[in-house]
Each structure stands twice: as C-alpha cells, then as structure tokens.
Amino acid sequence: MIIKNTSQFIILLFSMFLPYLTLRYYAKQVELPIIRELPALNVIPEMVGRAAEMGAKSLWIPGITSRVDARVISGLSILTKVAEEVAIKGGEIVCATARPVFMPLIEDAAITGYTAGGHPEHKPDVRFLTDQQFAFCAGVMGIIDRENCQANFYVGGWADEALPISAAGLAKGAMQIAGDTNMYQLPYFVCTCDYVMIAEEFLVSGAVLTRDKEQLGGIIGADLLKYALIVLCILGIIAASIGSNFIVQILSY
C-alpha cells in the first residue's frame, strides 16, 4: 500500500486543512466568530485607568526573543489595545526591547492604538536597551524603579529574564499581566502577575484584539479538531471499560 502510517496521515491532513477551510469560510462571513471571554483583555482598561489616576506609567515588554514570531505579534496587538486605553484615560507607555529590529513594529503598533484612542499626535516612548540578557534585565528593573510603572505588560517571547523583571514590578506594587507560550517561564509569571495568559490563550488574545477574521477562523477550525479528540477519547474510555481495544487498533492502523 502506498501510504504508510495511515491513521497518523489522516490526523495530519485534518490538522492542516480543517483550520484552513474554516479560515476561508469565516473570511467570507460578515461578522466575526464569537470567542469565549478572555479575562486578561477585560483587565487592561482597569489597569491603565489605575496607573493614570496614580500619575504612574504603563510598561510594555516583548521579552528577549529575537524572532518576530506569533508570540511577538500577539504582544504587539496587546500594545495597540493598551495605547488606545492610554489615549482615552491619559498616562503614558514605556516600551523597552532588546532587539533593534522590533522598534519600527512597536512604534507602528503604539501609533495605531493612539489613533484609535483619538490622539494620533502622541509620540510613543520606545527604547532599545541592550541585547545582552542580564544587562537588559538590569535596564528594565531600573526603569520600573525610577519611573514608577504601575501597569506592566510582559507579553511576548520570554526566557530567564522573566523572574527578576516581574519580581521587581511586584515589589513596586504594580498590576501586571503576562503572556507567553514558553511553559518554563509561566510559573514565575503566575506568582508575580495578576493575570497570566497561558500558551494558546495568549495567541488567541492577540487575534481577538486585532479582529483578524482569518486567524479567528483558524482558531474555530482548531476547536473542531479538539472536539474530535474529545469524542475519540470518550469512545476510547468506553472501549477500555468493556475491555476492547478497538479504538487503539484504529489509531495504530
């Protein structure tokens, strides 16, 4: 037979093309697919308002990752939302990065947010500190300390600099949100931040904010695959309870 590992091949094809089909379907629809409530997005206006009342600043950092991947793109869409809130409620944002190549992207995202908030004339404060991990850590901790940042957003691709920076923000009593797909830095964020977007929840939050119809369509496609996994698991549990491994044989065909 020309096809080997058939069941795996079927799963691969479904995983590749089902989200693409739903993407095409929703691209033609007028309204957006409805996504469940994401608590982190509701907290942003409250955080920025609190910082504005205290006369403090908001701080946005995409982590130290060097590639513009899905995590950084989600982080940028969150920056646009924060900039919109700052334009409405007042206050200021400081954006610090370790990658010069990100700076134009950050400026664009911030200006888009300011314009949406009705203040296109605001100038975003974007700073490139250094590309060395621990020197970047020290730089950001200095900003948190000196410039009293009370609404901190750590959304992007993080590594070992996550703990020292978020702990410094916590020590200043700031409200903090974090988001990353790197499961090894999330435990530190859970302890130091008020809300943490875990793995896919972070990427979806970015898509919801940008109202990207295509990406949201793809997410609905992935949901259908997960429902399929749930059905398969229920059948598997029933099969295991009555002692047959019918499902297991299908999956290893």
Partner: protein, 203 residues
C-alpha cells in the same frame, strides 16, 4: 589542596566577576567577563562550524561524491546576504532549511503529540488515578477551546470546567517550577564547589 596551575584561578576570577554584578552592582569586571564570554563563545562556534563543514561537506566532494556540492552551494548562498544586489538569493537557502525542519517536525507530531498522549487517557474510570487523569484531560482541553458555544447555560457550565482546567494547568506549572529548582541550584552548587576546590577548602 590549593589549585597549583593558573587555569582554575582564571576561572575563579571570571566566576566572581560575574557574581560581582549580583553582590555589588554592574561594574567593569562584569562587562569584561561578559565580553570575554561572547568572544570565546563565538570563537568556538566558528571553529566547530568550520570543522563540520570541512569534514562532512567539503571532504566528500573532494573524494568525488559530487552530490554534496548542493549542500555547499546552498550554504554559500546564505553568506551572500552581505552582497546587496543578490541578497534575495539567501532566502532560497532559508526556505530549504525552514521547509526541511518544519516538514520533519510536523510529520512526527501526529504520533508523538496526539495519538500516544490520547491513548494514555483510554482508561476505565474505576480508580482515583484514572478519574483524575480523565478529568484533567477534559477540563484542560475545554480550557483551550476558544469558540463560544451558542447555548448560554452550557457556556456558563463550561466556565466552571475551564476554571478546573486552569487549576490542573497550575499543578502542572507548579511541578515544572519545583523541578526547575533542582536545575537552577545545581549550577550554583557547581560554581561554589569549583571555588572551594580551587581555594583548597574542599576535596
């Protein structure tokens, strides 16, 4: 017994130049150590890369196996990025690299990350362990389903399921946090042991 050769003492200087950043503040010794680290790392990186290219790409071509020339040409194209007019060519080699790496990764994901973990949940719910495992599967998977269900009541019930799923994730993250302590402290222990051995305070 105190270290007799100069090597360990150089290592001691660099170790505590790095730690001076913690115990004191950023200073010239730390920045000197940092730049030494960057320089030596790049030097080793370059030599290792040249050795593998010379041994495993160039050598076979000289021995007559000309198919390896394709790898050599694709590699040289990467270096063309510095020449402005033909900079676009370096994308072809990147495309070759990304296509192979991505294709290999996703070709094995259905078995390693979907079928095998899924089969591990096919358990009769007759023991506590099995019930907790099955509950973990359904609640965490529900947490990662983002489309809102049309039915209001079902969606409210799902909020509680998602809440339980998030707590399962917290236990997983906690275990990773607990295990990471073993890793973090092992590195510090090795540095302190090296320091004591060099100073002759430990065998």
């Amino acid at each position: 017994m105190v270290a007799t050769t100069i090597g360990p003492w150089i290592g001691l200087f660099f170790t505590w130049a790095i730690y001076s950043y913690l115990l004191y503040k950023e200073n010239i010794a730390f920045r000197f150590a940092e730049h030494t680290f960057i320089g030596v790392a790049a030097g080793i990186n370059f030599v290792m890369a040249m050795k593998t290219l010379q041994g495993n790409t160039l050598q076979p071509i000289l021995n007559g196996e000309l198919i390896y020339a394709i790898g050599l040409i694709l590699g040289i194209i990467i270096l063309l990025r510095y020449i402005k007019p033909i900079k676009f060519a370096s994308n072809w080699s990147m495309a070759f690299y990304v296509g192979t790496t991505l294709g290999l990764t996703i070709s094995r994901l259905p078995i390693t990350s979907i079928i095998v973990p899924l089969k591990s949940f096919f358990l009769p719910p007759n023991t506590l362990d099995n019930i907790v495992l099955i509950a973990g599967f359904f609640t965490v998977l529900s947490y990662f389903i983002f489309g809102r269900l049309p039915n209001k009541q079902v969606e409210q019930a799902r909020d509680y399921v998602n809440r339980a799923g998030r707590l399962f994730l917290m236990v997983t993250l906690g275990a990773m946090f607990g295990a990471s302590l073993l890793g973090r402290f092992a590195m510090v222990i090795e540095r302190i042991y090296f320091t004591m051995r060099t100073l002759g305070l430990a065998a």
